[in-house]
Symmetry: C2
Subunit: 337 residues, 2 copies
């Protein structure tokens, strides 16, 4: 049975969302859960739910990382935090995956340095799912684990993202693209020109460059880019969805007609907004670390936590990290010719 | 009287939108218009409208750049295009500004190389207006004229963008920010770290870094970034607005209730979408070239063309380029300090 270490103290609704999500996962997904957090708090929350006979255990952690902790400080000064303890459980082989809805930067840093990166990977990458017009998702990576990436790292992101998409989103041969810009004079920048040349050499289904506008079109499955770019793309999208929601709300004041319209169409917009919330997709995996790591949105509810555990468990069962090592080694051999 | 050269063959609705926009501008704004394009075509369109006594002249251009022309080919091979002829009118002092709703890359290239850049400017920058939650706009530059910018170029973008915002958007002391990412480990990348250090030294109101999410918040007026980043930000936003529009439309099929809701709230969304269309703001100025250049959206209607002419005329009257030269020289002197 796959064992998942769940940071019980991470999200805005911790530990309730984490505990409820863990119970749902243990009941429905056939996984064993280690709930990591301040024992009394987690035990009390667990006591409020029926969980008899479910494979859920509590592992004590005496400290908690908050959203206001800086990643480096959290990593260095809070060694007994639930994130650290959960990461050590994975490092020491007591769990196969780490799931946290905590401070993204802190979880990335702890996972990266406690677990270490895979031998074939220079830098782990954070992958986010964007809902698209084809009612599927387009995965973008990296969305913020790295800046100033080199072309060979973009290449690694492509290999990892492609395996992730195949494993979780079910496409047999995901279409992989490079995020770039459209004007010919500059067709991309130095990085994308070099990265495109490398991506063409891979055996995966690289379909070329796409523009920002194409992110939502659904014509590609995986889009790779430097983490600075991906983070801007992610945050701009979140900000714009928030903005449009607020604008529609404001519009109701303009007339009774639009007021009625707003109330009636609110469901449609809310369901769209929900689809843009990465927690609906089980959070963002940090690909390339030794041990599966899924980082949920701070707003994660129980369902989102369960989904994150589901994705973690599917990645474990598919031997995700072994595949990454194999395919990156094969790519390196091919590159050497 | 300010004279504006208008590319009559540029946009999707050319020459109709251009001619109508020119007539509106000549009538309302006290500007003189040179309509540049295939003479017979422009004359025929002009004949369909009452324009007696208005200061509008036609300047013949025998070629037309299309949306499918690559910028460099358009620049090199279509020297008699309406864009080239209009740019030469500005270069030769027969007009003060160039307005085109044509192929953005081609117009940028022609303007840059026919007009040349200002002495104090390394690279011109394209500025786009994003509507924000405060019902004002946030201007982002560069949105695609440059890639692989250096920190001193970002600094120049800030100076040019700040003057543009002051001139056109009326803020006395615009808040200028640098687009970056939020996680502490990496607070930006090499470029933003160096650019932030430079921006702090300027006398303008630099308020620090902002994230993608802040673009729509309206807490800052001008956001500077490399053109690759800005282009991704712009295109992602356009793509997402299109996507949300399509999703809301699709939602009507799900129930009668949401169908009614959609019809009733459509106005609100349409008015939002309109506000996100840069042509409502008179197009995107290419800042830093010798001669005011405004590039409208391909979809520009007559109102958008008129607005572009209005912005061009306001920039001319405010001696925009002189201010840029002065302030950049002052900044350079201060830096040598």
């Amino acid at each position: 049975m796959t064992t998942i270490a769940v940071d019980a103290m991470g999200g805005d609704h911790a530990p309730r969302a984490e505990v409820e999500g863990a119970i749902l996962a243990a009941r429905e997904l056939g996984v064993r859960i280690l709930l990591v957090g301040i024992e009394a708090t987690v035990r009390q929350e667990l006591g409020r739910h029926g969980h008899r006979g479910l494979p859920i255990e509590i592992v004590n952690a005496t400290d908690v990382i908050t959203m206001s902790d800086s990643p480096s400080q959290a990593f260095r000064r809070k060694k007994e935090s639930s994130v650290h303890v959960a990461a050590r459980l994975v490092r020491d082989g007591k769990a196969e995956a780490l799931v946290s809805a905590g401070n993204t930067g802190a979880v990335m840093t702890v996972a990266r340095f406690v677990l270490g990166t895979l031998a074939a990977v220079d830098r782990p990458a954070l992958a986010a799912a964007f809902p698209n017009m084809k009612e599927k998702v387009t995965v973008i990576l990296d969305v913020g684990a790295n800046v100033d990436s080199k072309a060979e790292q973009i290449e690694q992101f492509a290999v990892m993202g492609e395996i992730y998409y195949r494993t979780i989103w079910g496409a047999k041969r995901p279409r992989v693209a490079l995020l770039s810009i459209g004007e010919e004079e500059m067709k991309g920048n130095e990085l994308t020109r070099e990265a495109a040349a490398r991506l063409k050499q891979l055996s995966l289904n690289f379909v070329g460059n796409v523009e920002g506008r194409d992110v939502f079109r659904g014509d590609v499955d995986v889009i790779v880019c430097d983490g600075f770019i991906g983070n801007i793309a992610l945050k701009i999208s979140e900000g714009l969805v928030e903005h449009i929601g607020a604008m529609l709300k404001k519009a109701i004041k303009s007339s009774l007609k639009s007021q009625v319209g707003y109330v009636l169409s609110k469901d449609a917009f809310d369901s769209f907004r929900k689809r843009t919330d990465s927690s609906e997709y089980g959070g963002a995996p940090l690909l390339g670390v030794r041990g599966i790591t899924i980082i949920g949105h701070g707003r994660s509810n129980a369902l989102a936590v369960k989904n994150a555990i589901r994705v973690a468990s599917e990645l474990c069962r598919s031997r995700f990290n072994e595949k990454i090592e194999q395919e990156l080694s094969a790519a390196a051999v091919a590159a050497r010719g």
